[in-house]
Symmetry: C2
Subunit: 172 residues, 2 copies
């Protein structure tokens, strides 16, 4: 019953060390296509994606984020943003919609032999402000987070199992 | 370059019509295992999952949710909850963490020949309250949403392409 897709979901781990090798443009396009394939409330699709491969910008992002050191050395980042003005539903659900898109990015990367890590942004106001300035993000757009991506230079075991006490049958 | 996992991500669509056929327990377990494999901020893993297959409860949920009619006729729902008291990071990031877990549920379902749809809950206070009561969810726990699941009785084309104006290179 366990197939390639299930194995891919279980195999995705946070990767913070990358080889000094660019990510092919075709792979970037496919990852972005997968990001757009995520569901969104009322299908309003509020997500925007900023593909960052400029070394100077990656270095600026690395300095701005307390857990973002790897951005200095990875070849690619995708910044996931949301437009809460896209629709009434987007104003409530942009975070959920953008998080699903982010998860698709990480899973698609894994499927294409890349590693990735999700760096949170929106709940760290100083980081959010710096990212916004470096990438010229308009004021009405929210910044969910950053995916750092590249060919992995570390190996991690796949996830397995179910956490005790966190699955409930029919009622809590 | 397009492999089974990429195809699975693109093929996932919101499915609202289901066959009257239960979902095998092994599949439910695998879906939940995939849900736990989602990333979380600081690895604090705040997600809880309520697996609902009781027909009376599914019917109650269907009546409580304005877009939840299909819960009356689907064999299974997984309610994704978050515990913001799990850690300081969970208090900020539980929505993002739980949304990634929800997306894993939908993608794992697709990989196991099931269909699914994500019903938002937390931003609809009356719905949230009803779900909370029916499923005896404790006050400190948040309810992200409900995945309705089952064998699909409708077909939809896969996603393709990239939305104009929503991909930016290096800066907005």
């Amino acid at each position: 019953m366990v197939n390639e897709t299930i194995r891919n979901i279980l195999a995705r781990r946070s990767i913070r060390r990358f080889h000094d090798k660019p990510v092919e443009e075709d792979k970037v396009k496919l990852i972005i296509e997968c990001a757009f394939a995520a569901p969104s409330a009322g299908n309003s699709r509020p997500a925007h994606f900023i593909v960052v491969d400029d070394k100077k910008l990656l270095s600026s992002l690395a300095k701005a984020h307390p857990f973002g050191k790897m951005l200095e050395r990875c070849p690619l980042a995708i910044v996931v943003c949301g437009d809460p003005t896209q629709s009434e539903q987007a104003s409530y659900y942009w975070e959920e919609d953008c998080s699903a898109a982010m998860e698709n990015i990480l899973l698609a990367a894994q499927a294409l032999d890349l590693g990735s890590v999700w760096l949170g942004v929106q709940h760290a106001p100083a980081v959010e402000l710096a990212v916004r300035e470096f990438l010229k993000i308009p004021p009405h757009i929210k910044v969910l987070g950053i995916a750092a991506l590249g060919y992995p230079a570390e190996n991690k075991d796949p996830h397995e199992g179910i956490l005790d006490g966190k699955v409930h049958l029919n009622q809590w």
